[in-house]
Amino acid sequence: MTAGGMRGLSPWRWLGAPMMLVMGASFLFAIPLRFWGLGLPEPLFAMPVVFAWAVIRPSMLAPICVMILGLYLDLLWGTPFGLWAVCLLLPYGVVLGGRAMLAGQSRLMMWLWYGAATGLSMGAGYLFTMLHTQGAPSPFPIGWQFLATVVLYPVADRLIELFEDADVRFR
């Protein structure tokens, strides 16, 4: 076991910096810009980061960061306060619980798991919105956001590659 392997991973590197990047990207895509008459898509930039945090290692800070990210998205997008916090925490908890099963899976399988986690988040959002407003949201925009979020898996993959082996105690 090398000394480098035992080196602790700074929370700022794997939690703080990605969280700030997600906040910035989400804000940037909320600007009212149109290209050739079409608005920007609105993917859930937080999803790859949340998925990667759950896969990389169990942490006491990560759930708090997930909640902060969710509350930030609620304030930015005007959704009910706490909606995205819950919708992000649910897949985080599920992936964290199945972390041992995900270890060593191929990239394609991890992408499928990521898609399932995104689906869980969207499904929870659909359910809570339906209960909150007494009306069912249209499935087409949800499907559109789901697709726009699923294609972001390479971001999660990159984060996992960077930090999964940063501390050998969590291999």
């Binding site: 600007i31 759930p63 304030l75 706490g82």
Partner: protein, 361 residues
Amino acid sequence: MSLRDNPLGELKVPLTWTAGIVFLVVLIVSVGILLGDRREAFDTDEYGNPRTLSDRVMAPVGDALSTPGRLTGEGVEGIRGYFFAVSENRRLKAELENMRQWRDVAVALRDTNERYRAILGLKTDPPIPMAAARIVVDSRGPFAHSRLANVGREAGVKPGNPVMSENGLVGRVVGVTEGVSRVLVLTDVASRTPVMIDRTNARAILTGDGGPNPRLDYLRGQNAVRAGDKVLTSGDGGVFPRGLPVGVVVKGLDGRWRVVLAADKAPVDYVRILLFEDFTQVANRAALDQMNPPSPTPGASTLPPPVPEPVVQPPAAATPRPKAAAAVPGPPAATPAPKAAVPRATPPAKAAPPRPSEPAP
């Protein structure tokens, strides 16, 4: 005894368990926050300090970030206008020619309307003051469609004020602070707008579902709507003034009647916030409550006094309660109660004259 010698010193709580416990606590807190949210109330007090504060921070940042894009768009539009000036000039001339004919029709209709109003003594709505604003943040997710406009309380904006683009209704204000207003767009899942079909005057509720085309719910009447009908605000409920253009009816893929919003014809970058106050907000309710009901119009037809239904006394009940049974049905059948009958009879007499035709929008 030092810590190293303590048998409990080597005891470590597994990180997975502590992380799991923290996760559960955070999840419970988040669910509590979500359940405590009162966004659907759309009230100033319910909007909350976190939202107010974040809107105040986000609006100037969004404004600054969107400036390069806006300036680029204006530049591209300027270049396009320069190269297509001749064809644009031809199109505008044709449109002007068409509009001149409509102007003559509008002048004639206005004259007719004024005469009708003078004859009927109609009290028309006062002109609505407006505040111009620019959209600086725009969320388009499936669970929320809202925008931040860079005008707020200092311009007199209040929650509930309608918001329009140059083409039609955009939504209404749901949160206001200094310099910023949050606009709930008609397509938001929580948006409900009372509307009417221009051709048939049929009423409906425009219900947002997160998609681009909100649906028409609670549509009343048979054949009340067909594809291509114009949809306007009905003014019911007093949230919106009557007659604001909303869009055009289409048949959705799901077989429901939906509306292509007029505001979607062009990017919604600049908006007008109507500082609209309906009658219920303006009226002095305390003074109205103290007013006596008006006396009936002389000579007008009134409803007959109410005739109480005959009470059939069961033979067994007649013996134990003779006084109570005789006191209720006897006298009112013969003598009408004047105070109770007068106000009920007045509204039908007022509603007798036929309604004037709707003014042209």
